[in-house]
């Protein structure tokens, strides 16, 4: 299975390194249409959503990713990636891919001094609590009816799934835990 990581900017090599630890997975850095068309699943990494969103737009990559979503390929956005997928962004007038029925708040916790790590309970993903790193993170304020909430932190939604779309406010690529990767790729 070829799993792409959108390689415009951000925590690309961290995701690639995690994918390399899974059997039967070929990680692929993807930043052009041809490569994006040839992946079976796609990760939108952490980074700055304004910067990545602009490149998606200017290099005409949005349609390829939307097509991938329509074909049923699993797509997972971590932090900035979650913002890129959202249909609604509370504190931004720009919507990027607009494929997931979630309403997100950017930089919801504040500046870097408010970044934090914690442990989260996520029964669908792992029977044990998993480490979660939040870096200037967004959270989900509201979800559409077809969206399943996977985890909350202090009452706010920080992980969700809608069919083949997966979103996390935090960065599994920065910890040693592979459970979300396995959940995302159906390897549980």
């Amino acid at each position: 299975m070829r799993v792409g990581v959108l390689a415009i900017q951000g925590s690309v090599e961290e995701h690639i390194d995690k994918l390399k630890r899974l059997d039967g997975i070929t990680p692929v850095e993807a930043k052009d249409k041809e490569t994006l068309k040839r992946v079976d699943a796609l990760i939108l990494p952490g980074g700055e959503s304004t910067a990545i969103g602009k490149m998606l737009n200017d290099f005409d990559l949005k349609d390829v990713i939307i097509e991938l979503y329509r074909s049923g390929a699993p797509i997972w956005g971590t932090c900035a990636g979650m913002i890129l997928m959202a249909k609604h962004i509370v504190n931004d007038d720009k919507v990027h891919l607009g494929i997931m029925d979630i309403k997100v708040r950017r930089n919801a916790y504040g500046s870097q001094l408010d970044s934090f790590t914690t442990k989260l309970s996520m029964p669908d993903v792992s029977k044990d609590e998993i480490d979660a790193v939040f870096i200037r993170a967004p959270y989900i304020e509201d979800v559409g009816e077809n969206v399943k909430v996977l985890s909350r932190y202090n009452g706010k939604i920080v992980a969700a799934r809608e069919g083949n779309l997966f979103a996390t406010s935090f960065h599994p690529e920065l910890t040693n835990d592979l459970s979300f990767y396995k959940y995302f790729l159906g390897l549980q």
Binding site: A51, G110, Q112
Partner: protein, 292 residues
């Protein structure tokens, strides 16, 4: 390593592959964000103007920093003088996202850099070689950049510093365990960090290029030489068409390995900033020699 330090290294990881731009007003910050910058550096004067202006260059007015923070959603960085830990305390109180302890400002202490472990807020520091990079990391820096020679529009020093760091890292990976303590002595760097680099073949933190980057091709050059991302100081807002150049440098940084894209974005950018041959600078005008 403590949790706060890990989080601070993590923020730098999120900036990888991106461009951090010097800005002096909220309007410039908005232009930078729209062009695709991953962060902005809030300053009173860009390095080229600091050179022209002379005198003592200090931390910016908190009012400017606050206005810039207000104007954009991307991380905001700001500079403090080398060793000026009170300027750093002020920036931490302003909840800045990253502090640059920078040779571009006039040093406040000729012997000691800031003890960055005393802060919660992250620091980036300049380096000319591996020893200098590891000393700064030893003091608590969670991100490194080459010093280059800021405000010159001349990439030659950034190239020299990046190549030096890369070559020194490569050399460490070839040494046997018993040679590492001697290497640490020669590099004047903490042994544990030397050992980390020898084992992993890389710095323990993100390493950006900075100092003299003026064109999309300069940015792509630094990326091909192994930089994790680039800082552009005077290169954007001292050029003829800042909007267009900013966007072109961002695109060339993402697609640093695609010459056809670099060619396309380099077209018709107008004049670059006024540039300086490093050999025309006297010893006292070399910012890279500040700090140790």
């Amino acid at each position: 390593m403590n949790e706060r330090y890990e989080l601070n290294k993590n923020l730098a990881q999120m900036l990888k592959g991106g461009v951090i731009m010097d800005v002096t007003t909220p309007e410039q910050a908005v232009i930078a964000e729209k062009a695709g910058a991953v962060a902005v550096m809030a300053l009173e004067r860009v390095p080229a103007d600091i050179r022209a202006h002379g005198g003592v260059a200090r931390m910016s007015d908190p009012k400017i920093i606050k206005a810039i923070k207000e104007a954009v959603s991307i991380p905001v960085m700001a500079k403090v003088r080398i060793g000026h830990f009170v300027e750093a305390q002020v920036l931490e109180a302003l909840k800045i996202d990253y502090i640059d302890e920078s040779e571009v400002l006039t040093p406040a202490d000729e012997s000691y850099h800031i003890n960055k472990w005393q802060f919660k807020v992250p620091f980036v520091c300049g380096a000319r070689n591996l020893g200098e990079a590891l000393r700064r990391i030893g003091e608590g820096a969670s991100m490194i950049r080459t010093k280059g020679e800021a405000g010159t529009g001349n990439v030659v020093e950034a190239v020299r510093h990046m190549r030096t760091i890369t070559a020194e890292i490569k050399r460490l990976t070839t040494l046997s365990d018993e040679e590492l303590m001697t290497a640490a002595k020669e590099l004047q760097a903490p042994y544990e960090l030397v050992k980390y680099v020898a084992e992993n073949g890389r710095l323990p933190v993100v390493n950006f290029a900075a100092g003299g980057i003026a064109t999309p091709a300069d940015a792509a050059l630094m990326m091909q030489l192994g930089a994790d991302g680039v800082f552009v100081g005077s290169g954007i807002f001292k050029s003829e068409n800042p909007e267009k150049r900013a966007e072109a440098i961002v695109k060339a940084t993402t697609y640093y390995d695609k010459p056809e894209i670099i060619a396309e974005v380099s077209e018709g950018l107008g004049e670059a900033m006024n540039s300086i041959d490093i050999r025309d600078l006297s010893e006292k005008d070399l910012y890279a020699n500040r700090g140790w």
